[in-house]
């Protein structure tokens, strides 16, 4: 059983879609396992000014992706790197225990997107 908040984010995902000229993209999970997500970020002055997602997966995978975009928008990269899987689950009023491990990948996806941005930035120097 999912919380009302999970169901709300599943029904009306926030910030769903791609950012074609994203500054960083993070891909986590694998379709073989049943969950895979892409997180796209737009960065200005070390701050996340836009963030979007696309997810293949269960209700929890879609809801956590949606939630991470809400949590991350407007944060500095440093603060966004501090967001954890538990932050995402807590903001959704919890997840069923079996979903904590397999479908709660959104924080990892965001971190990967930030790393991707930083690597690209490094390469430009």
């Amino acid at each position: 059983m999912y919380s009302d908040k999970v169901m709300d984010h599943f029904r009306n995902p926030r910030n769903m879609g791609e950012i074609p000229d994203a500054d960083g993209v993070g891909t986590v999970g694998n379709p073989v396992c049943g969950d895979m997500m892409n997180i796209y970020i737009k960065v200005k002055d070390d701050r996340i000014v836009d963030v979007k997602f696309k997810t293949f997966g269960c209700g929890a995978a879609i809801a956590t992706s949606s939630m991470i975009t809400e949590l991350a928008k407007g944060l500095t990269l440093e603060d966004a790197m501090k967001l954890t899987r538990s932050d995402v689950a807590d903001s959704l009023d919890g997840l069923p225990p079996i979903k904590m491990h397999c479908s709660n990948l959104a924080a990892d996806g965001l971190h990967e997107a930030i790393k991707d941005y930083r690597q690209k930035k490094e390469a430009e120097k």
Binding site: G34, M37, T55, F56, G59, A61, K99, S103
Partner: protein, 391 residues
Amino acid sequence: MTVRRIYLDHTSGMPLDPRVVDAMTPYFDRVYGNPSSPHSFGNEARRAMEDARGQVAALIGAEAREVLFTSGGTESNNLAIQGVALRNRSRGTHIITSAIEHMSVINPCQALSKQGFQITSIPVDSYGVVDVDALRAALTDHTILVSIMYANNEIGTIQPISAISEVVHAQGSLLHVDAVAAAGQIPIAVQVDAIDLLSLSSNDLYGPRGVGALYVKAGTRIQPIVQGGGQERGLRSGTENVAGIVGMGAAADVAQRELSQDAARLVGLRDRLIHGLVDAIPEAYLNGHPTQRLPNNVNVRFNYIEGESLLLSLDMEGVAASSGSACASKTLEPSHVLLATGLKHEEAHGSLLMTLGRQNIVDDVDHVVEVMPSIVKRLRAISPLTPKELM
């Protein structure tokens, strides 16, 4: 506004037929003797139980004395496999089963493999039909038991049981058939097909849960797995669940009388649902066999999306279904049945199982056909796997 609820998950649980409820009612409070007691109270209960045994036997073309009552399909499968294996160990330690059996067949076999038995699992083709040649090749002088289901509970594929029976008996092995999903859906005749043991579940016949039966052909060597007071010819001890058994008997009786008309109606609904989905939605495919298929079974996969999110979306539309997805299971593994038919993991994850029942009507099917395209479209729009041309 409340959404009209539509139940398409009969493989997970069936409602009791009202006639079954009526038949059971006196056996909760008015008839309460123990069938083993020699007084009039016991006699009443015993007579009701023996009537039910006859009704269950009639459904599968058996003699009443060849039917034992158990606690359900799982216990029947366990008793058949462990009971035959342990009793016939001196004759051999090889058991053959298929790749698409229910967990209540697979797990007892695995447990036996830790006790020195060898287990061979026969593959199936892309429709889920057991490879009879592979079965013939796998049989040896040491094969004591072959356990193959009559029809699969997830993809609905009906097995060529009489061909399987011929091959098994040519080698002198025993044949156990798990008919939990098939019984009540298609005619079963244990004598015609020369089946030695056959498992049934009451709930899958619109009877109460917690009751099942095992057909054991007269003369079959088997030992009990539950020891006690020696009920059910010593093969299943424990005071009998008389109300449940009476319910299963009534359910079997209704199923036998109404099977052909029920099946014809369900096949019509089934094919309407399958075509309504597969024809309307791009990259939607039927899992299982198009015609060698249980009348109540629809299993369709939708590429690029995941089954649990499909279930949640359907639930919001009032429709209850089931999925082959790992996310909807307790084990986090996608359905072993779908994988055995050659589907990739991501295809198994995107599969949806809908099982029809007596109460479903054409409107139910049409509602699903109406809401599904937009559900699939929405989830595909969210998925990063969806190709651009499908968006």
